[in-house]
Symmetry: C2
Subunit: 339 residues, 2 copies
């Protein structure tokens, strides 16, 4: 029997040590039910004792299924992540099963039971806020899980893929400062989400390095959707001293601010400069095209898919916490303030 610190032990060696056939060990490794309980226990003990790890891609000989789970499918945002996941999964011969759990336990439970019934080789949760009991059930299934754009800080053993939200908030604010703006408002995302807090802190840091103080009147909390951008934009424009620039923490909220500006009889960027966040396709289609912070959503999806496929093949994630770089895309919605 080999030393685990040297090369890794093989199924043949485990079978010999357990006094069973190689196919029996293989059945235990693959979690199949047709092995007597006593035999299974003996084999599992040996596998643990010798630190057995399945060879890479041992599980990908059959066509796999990756589960991609969103809260809702109501945003162009979802399709960008899906595009990256599907691309990697398709090439690897795996299917991408898309589900929406609508932030309800019932729907999440239904998804979990569907997953249990049909099997699945890996799960990608997007902006997850699964209930703790459901998270525990998912863990029991022993399916590899990766979280994209984590809502909070997940348990240490779940790899996450995010974007550099703080750096993005900083870059958006610095861009507006450099154009000469001093009254810069923030239409932020829900404070409960990690990404919103990081964007807010990047905004604050951008103001501070320019020697500007954060004016609480200019900081509003939206929900990432267009309607809240419109409402909060209108509130900001109605202030006695309105801002000359607005950083909206999502492209959809930025479009809401566009409409508030238009309804006030003002123009973007002549009267108000606007910066968004995400760089969805619709940012380039806005009129004028939107200056925004690019979040590489398709790349985040692709990396999550590669990570979960590697985990399904028995590898461990290289780095459990990855943030891909955001970058400022300057288009036509920003200009110096009126003199």
């Amino acid at each position: 029997m080999s030393d685990v610190r040297g090369r890794s032990v093989t199924i043949t060696e485990i079978a010999r040590a357990a006094g069973v056939s190689v196919p029996t060990v293989s059945r235990v490794v693959n979690g199949r039910g047709d092995v007597a309980a006593a035999t299974r226990e003996r084999v599992e003990a040996l596998l643990r004792e010798h630190g057995y790890r399945p060879p890479p891609r041992a599980r990908s000989t059959r066509a796999g299924l990756l589960d991609l789970v969103f809260n809702d499918l109501d945003s162009p945002w979802a399709v960008e992540i899906l595009r990256g996941v599907e691309d990697v999964a398709h090439a690897a011969g795996a299917g991408t099963v898309v589900s929406a759990v609508h932030r309800t336990s019932d729907s999440a439970r239904q998804w979990l039971s569907n997953l249990q019934a049909r099997g699945g080789d890996g799960v990608i949760l997007v902006t997850s806020d699964l209930d703790p009991p459901l998270t525990e059930e998912l863990r029991q299934l022993a399916v590899p899980v990766v979280v994209v754009d984590p809502a909070g800080v997940p348990p240490y053993d779940v790899p996450t893929v995010g974007a550099t939200n703080w750096a993005g908030g900083l870059a958006a604010t610095e861009h507006l400062v450099e154009l000469g703006h001093r009254r810069i408002a923030l239409v932020g995302g829900p404070r409960g989400l990690l990404c919103s807090r990081a964007r807010l802190d990047g905004y604050r840091a951008g103001l501070e390095s320019a020697g500007l103080e954060l004016d609480p009147d200019l900081v509003r909390e939206g929900d990432f959707y267009q309607e809240s951008g419109y409402r909060l934009g209108a509130e900001l424009l109605a202030l006695p001293q309105p801002p000359t620039a607005v950083f909206a923490a999502s492209d959809q909220m930025a479009l809401g601010v566009y409409e508030a500006v238009r309804r006030s009889g003002l123009r973007v960027p002549d009267d108000v400069s606007i910066v968004g966040f995400d760089d969805l396709a619709l940012a380039a289609w806005a009129s004028p095209p939107l200056t925004t912070v690019r979040q590489p959503l398709a790349e985040m999806g692709a990396l999550a898919a590669r990570t979960v496929l590697a985990m399904a093949a028995g590898e461990t994630a290289d780095n459990p916490r990855v943030e891909l770089a955001t970058s400022l895309v300057v288009r036509e919605s920003t200009a110096p303030p009126r003199a």
Copy 2:
């Protein structure tokens, strides 16, 4: 043995007639491989002879997989259809496997081989233009297929779910005529697609019933994407006699026309009225909000999913050609022409 014209024959009766066990007949019905060839042939002959049809939902006792196949995942359009499909599939305990075949045979072939390897209970093809050989391979798999928004007229035995594109083109044009417009341009979709031809014919019919003649100078062919709307919109505005209104055959092209109008120093709707087609979420987010023809994409996806699940359960589609109604949504991008 019962008469097929009376009640339908049961598996028990088939088993008795074939001289085999009920589980054996069940294995044949469910297409499993562990039945001797001679037995399988005898049982299949009896099933055919007596017109056996599995009871509804006989196959849905295991969790199913619905394949949803797009050409590309590069449009907010895809996510609307996906939302409808996922909703129905999720509730039925089935997973929705999303694939993009990028209009290449290689990618479509890879998808087919993935499907063969993992199995699937039904396929929804969106705006399908699969190669004839691939269509034939798909038919060999004997998986139920439904086409959403057919690119052309598919073989008579494949059910389709579309929208009333002709009526939508008519409604858009009539709305502009009623506002007083006489020079109404069309930025159409690719002529090769059935839906584009129907929208063009609806536009023509709307002009004709107002006693207006179609001016070929005012009819342009785009590709449904924003860039073509921008380019063709700019061409139209540069005409010696520019149109006062534009009907764009997709919301994305309509946004391109917005940008062409803005760059000409003009305003929507003061100088140019614009009507789109689709009613994607971004239509309501445009500034000004876009008047458009609503295509019920989520409902189309939901109906396709219900149809394919029913077919998987052994039912036949009620109606092989369904067109769901479009409707005009009047927002703020249309107004009477300047006097």
